[in-house]
Symmetry: C2
DNA sequence: AGGCTATATAAGCATATGCTTATATAGTTT
DNA sequence: AAACTATATAAGCATATGCTTATATAGCCT
């Protein structure tokens, strides 16, 4: 889950790819069209599209020797929903948070720290 | 607009930061607590928090010498709404797409290409 | 003031990323 | 088959990123 999330966000977190996504939001395009419209070299566009496809954000369909790319809006919404679900999830229901869960419950048991905090709070009022 | 968008996504597109965000979704924490719970060095946590703060995703409040960090859920929703607005926006309303807009309208005027495409389509049916 | 505690920042390093140029692959047309 | 178009992939390079260790800064306490 987290793997997919951060890869998708990473794919979105790059200016060139955001531009490509914006262009694809206007209309589906093949690599050469994107390359022409954005005034970028073809390999540059290809490489970014690969990343976007791997993140599931862009679909492709071949037509002759053109490869048309379209924005997968469905997957965008799914991404955000999964992210919100991730944020709302109880730690006990997430993989890989066993240690964190345990250490989190031990956090407030340090009496010395608690005392210090209370003092500071008292001083601030 | 785009600048903010891709920086926020970039901030989210990193596993350590996603973990930090998840922990902050459970409760506000200071650096030392995050450091302890996630079992990471303090500078590592500090540096990531800085990025998250710069992206506006995390708020901080000082309490004694502790600096408490909390997830800014409001800004998360704003981020997504702005992203959707960016996708829906007409190119004419976006900064920095003047060239693209022009080249896009010129795309379909290449008759040779259009002819080729039509032939291919005909052959494929 | 001096000694704590927590946090921020800096320096250095290894790896990742984005780009370019060059080349390979796939499909189309003649 | 040969030439052509579009795309993918590879190699190489410069910069960015994430981490560690070391050090500086800031706030609190005795």
């Amino acid at each position: 889950m987290e793997e997919k999330l951060f890869k998708a966000f990473k794919a979105l977190g790059e200016p060139t790819r955001l531009k490509i996504i914006k262009m694809l939001s206007v209309q589906s395009m093949c690599v050469c069209e994107l390359s022409a419209v954005l005034d970028m070299t073809q390999p540059r566009v290809s490489q970014h599209l690969k990343i976007l496809k791997e993140a599931g954000l862009v679909n492709e369909s071949k037509e002759g020797y053109w490869v048309y790319h379209s924005l997968n809006r469905e997957s965008l919404h799914r991404l955000w929903n999964q992210f919100l679900a991730f944020l709302d999830a109880d730690l006990r229901n997430l993989e890989g948070y066993e240690e964190e869960l345990q250490k989190l419950s031990g956090l407030e048991s340090n009496e010395k720290v608690i005392a210090t905090k209370e003092k500071i709070r008292a001083n601030n009022t």
